[in-house]
Amino acid sequence: MPIFLQVPFQKKDIQGLTAGERVLLSGTVYTARDAAHKRMDDQLIEGKPFPFDIEGQVIYYVGPTPAKPGQVIGSAGPTTSGRMDKYTPKLLDLGLGGMIGKGYRSEEVKQSIVKNRAIYFGAIGGSAALIARSIKAVEMIAYEDLGTEAIRKLTIENFPVIVINDVHGNDLYREGVEKYRQI
């Protein structure tokens, strides 16, 4: 049975989640991928304000396709998270609660997840048409000039994810593979 979780959340809400568990997220998340992360980081270095209140929020690594007429959003599956590793520990230190993406995180990010009691969720890469159905509203927040890479606030309902890295240091990518590895 999946676990239901509201986002944004307080750190205490995610302490019981374990790598491998299926979770359905509802609430709001912010989109950001390569170009938006670089710009957020540049602005932090320059001492400029962050584009949204990051405390307890979840960032979804996605660059959606354009919405067709009548659609809220186009197809919107996760992109590879590792490209954001360079920026992630700083964001977790600022209060970011979690991330949704796909693929490995660096050792530094994994340690920062444990240190900050945060969480990394995996969405199913390539199931972008299915995921789009759980996105109910989209609001442009910042960096509109970046097009698909702009920061958008998504209102989501029962958005399907699986816990990859939990607050206890478990890693589904390591443990799941060990279980089935024969060579």
């Binding site: 660059g63 396709t65 659609q71 992109t79 890469g125 279980k179 590895r181």
Partner: protein, 280 residues
């Protein structure tokens, strides 16, 4: 000389771009269904079921199955007895991409150069390989190739003394390192031989062969089968979350090479393997 018109190429390419992104090939779809029956991991089964449902939704709603609608790569088999009229073949293909990606609400993922990283906003240019062949037809084979799996691809100039065992070890290492990043279950494209750039091309080209279809040379087919078995024992599984379905298929293309050489290229394709072809 048979004449083939620019506008006809534009239209064919535009149609293929849209269809490739909306309609998962039957070969891949059937491979999902077969894997669902054999996969040992519960999580892996759920992932596969979700991918089947996703393909159904994309076809039904006429939307892209994946938000990464890819780089367009075309292999054109150009008959030497035909002539393109009304403009250049390269321009026709790029016009087709522009048209298809606009009309199909597909994502523009191409930047004009890797230094300034400015989006071209129409998904051009595509990557076009032309092979001159006999006859008076033009066959255009296209793929919309996702960035995640392409990023985990690799090429190595092995030593001839590394032999078959060295080739196998290297390919398994690439798949292992790619893990969840390349969006498994994968289709693994392999080039062996040629030279540095030719080998990478062979690996890409191999991915155009249908899933489930073995190489006509029994020795190469045997290597494909053996590697497929080994890859699926790595434990990576659907989405790298653990399981017995790491690859849906593996394709190998081989070609002549220098006595000193053993080039091997591994071009990974995510499960959203989008390949179409048209004959003009």
């Amino acid at each position: 000389m048979r004449e083939i018109h620019y506008d006809d190429i534009v239209q064919k390419v535009a149609d293929m771009c849209i269809e490739a992104n909306y309609d998962l090939g039957e070969d891949v779809y059937n491979a999902f269904k077969a894997a669902l029956k054999t996969e040992k991991s519960e999580t892996g089964k759920e992932v596969l079921a979700q991918l089947i449902e996703n393909a159904d939704i994309a076809t039904e709603l006429r939307v892209p199955m994946c938000q990464d609608t890819g780089t367009v790569v075309c292999i054109v088999e150009l008959g030497q007895e035909c002539q393109i009229v009304g403009g250049s073949l390269y321009d026709a293909i790029n016009d087709g991409i522009r048209k298809g990606y606009g009309k199909g609400y597909l994502r523009n993922s191409i930047i004009r150069n890797p230094i300034d990283r400015k989006n071209t906003n129409d998904n051009t240019p595509g990557i076009v390989h032309i092979e001159l062949v006999e006859g008076n037809q033009v066959k255009i084979k296209m793929t919309a190739k996702g960035g995640g799996a392409e990023n985990m691809s690799d090429l190595k100039m092995l030593k001839p003394s590394d032999g078959l065992e060295g080739i196998k070890k290297y390919i398994l290492d690439v798949v292992r390192v790619a893990g969840p990043n390349a969006c498994p279950p994968l289709i693994v494209g392999i080039g062996i031989g040629g030279n540095f750039e030719r080998c990478a091309y062979l690996a890409k080209k191999s991915l155009f062969r249908h899933v489930g279809k073995r190489h006509p040379d029994p020795a190469v087919a045997k290597l494909e089968t053996e590697l497929m078995d080994d890859i699926n024992r790595l434990g990576i599984g659907p989405q790298g979350m653990g399981g017995t379905t790491t690859a849906l298929d593996i394709k190998i293309e081989v070609e002549a090479c220098h006595i000193a050489a053993l080039p091997v290229a591994v071009n990974l394709n995510c499960h959203a393997s989008r390949h179409k072809e048209a004959i003009l």
